[in-house]
Symmetry: C2
Subunit: 230 residues, 2 copies
């Protein structure tokens, strides 16, 4: 039976605020180092401070926002060391997820969808549509991780991506255009389809490591990552 009536769901305001902040962080729309004040956020959302307080509390608990002095929430500015740490954790997690994905059977529809997305990504790069490329790039990675069949894994990896969200936008202009990581993506997918667990893990780890190595080059003398001025 099909539901004739649409399900009633009144999403709480703090949930909407949380999602909006989350997307803004992931897209790099907040300059690293910015302090987010409850009242200004409340004003921009058109609500009282109570819902935005819940949202910010949640973000801080997830480690997405750093808590500065006086429990203020600031969008994190990654140092070279923090980026290296993030890379180690991401490699362990995402490498393992790719391995688990390779160990399981998948229906053709799922695999074909990923192949199509890969093709889309290539054309988006050549068309220099960088912002929508990043969206597909993200969905490609998480499409693989979802194939592990471990929701907790996906959730944890998502948390790591959120943490490097603000600096992730730094990578757009130069790195992506050079098709860096392109071969790793195709090789990883091919390995998963072939059931090659070692290969899948190796390619994903290589993809992450190389991107991190590129990003590390953007650090200044103090170790802080900076957006390339070009």
């Amino acid at each position: 039976m099909t539901t004739a009536l649409k399900r009633i769901e009144r999403e709480p305001l703090w949930d909407l605020a949380h999602a909006q902040l989350r997307d803004a962080l992931l897209a790099g729309r907040f300059e690293p180092g910015t302090v987010l004040t409850l009242r200004s956020l409340a004003e921009s959302f058109g609500t009282s401070i109570t819902p935005v307080r819940d949202a910010v509390t949640r973000l801080v608990a997830q480690g997405v926002l750093q808590q500065g002095p006086r429990n203020s929430a600031i969008v994190p500015n990654l140092s070279r060391k923090e980026l290296a740490d993030l890379t180690v954790v991401r490699c362990a997690l995402e490498g393992r997820a790719a391995r688990e994905a390779a160990l399981q059977r998948h229906d053709d529809a799922t695999l074909r969808r990923l192949e199509e997305r890969l093709a889309t990504m290539q054309s988006l790069i050549q068309a220099r549509k960088l912002e929508s490329y990043l969206e597909h790039h993200r969905k490609f990675h998480f499409g693989i991780y979802a194939m592990s069949g471990i929701p907790l894994m996906v959730e944890t990896i998502e948390n790591m991506w959120l943490r490097c969200g603000p600096v992730l936008s730094f990578v757009i202009p130069e790195y992506v255009v050079l098709l860096k990581g392109w071969d790793h993506h195709t090789a990883a997918l091919k390995a998963i389809m072939a059931g090659d667990a070692d290969g899948a893990e190796r390619e994903i780890v290589a993809d992450i490591s190389e991107a991190a190595h590129y990003l590390a080059g953007l650090a200044d003398s103090t170790g802080q990552l900076k957006r390339p001025s070009g």
Copy 2:
């Protein structure tokens, strides 16, 4: 210069509530499946609902508490599948942490402290002081993970431990007394001291896997983990 005066810091009420709930969860003082209502928690803490709301929001954001219908917070009851997922993630994370720990040099004081703790754990088992054994067991594991030099790793692993906190108490009566996992602990520490990365990872993974295998045997026909009646 040494600070002559102690730093002034008035911890927020919701931080205290968060810590108390966190410890109670980790110690298994809440029966899995219990729904935590804001007003009852507020009454037991002697505060208004605002601080406890912040604390609960944080716990839910961390995945420590599950959110049931009507955004209510319930202490999670792990299924066999969720335990298996948790085990995969923990092995990837904690195995890698042990590996990183083995790759670095450590001062003798740190290593000796861990050896002493290991001895303490053994005597606590033989004296059947199970609850304080678990405390030392936890500190031993995290002592190793801290030696990786990666705070993010420690933080993420801590999150995973929190998630299996409620059922972790199930393991106390029988498993620990049998000295299961004892050899893995000593072997892991020895491997780290010898700089044997492969061995360190292997032993930690074995420790986690065997405990998980034991726990999985406690699942009922529906897949829910139950406290042994004995």
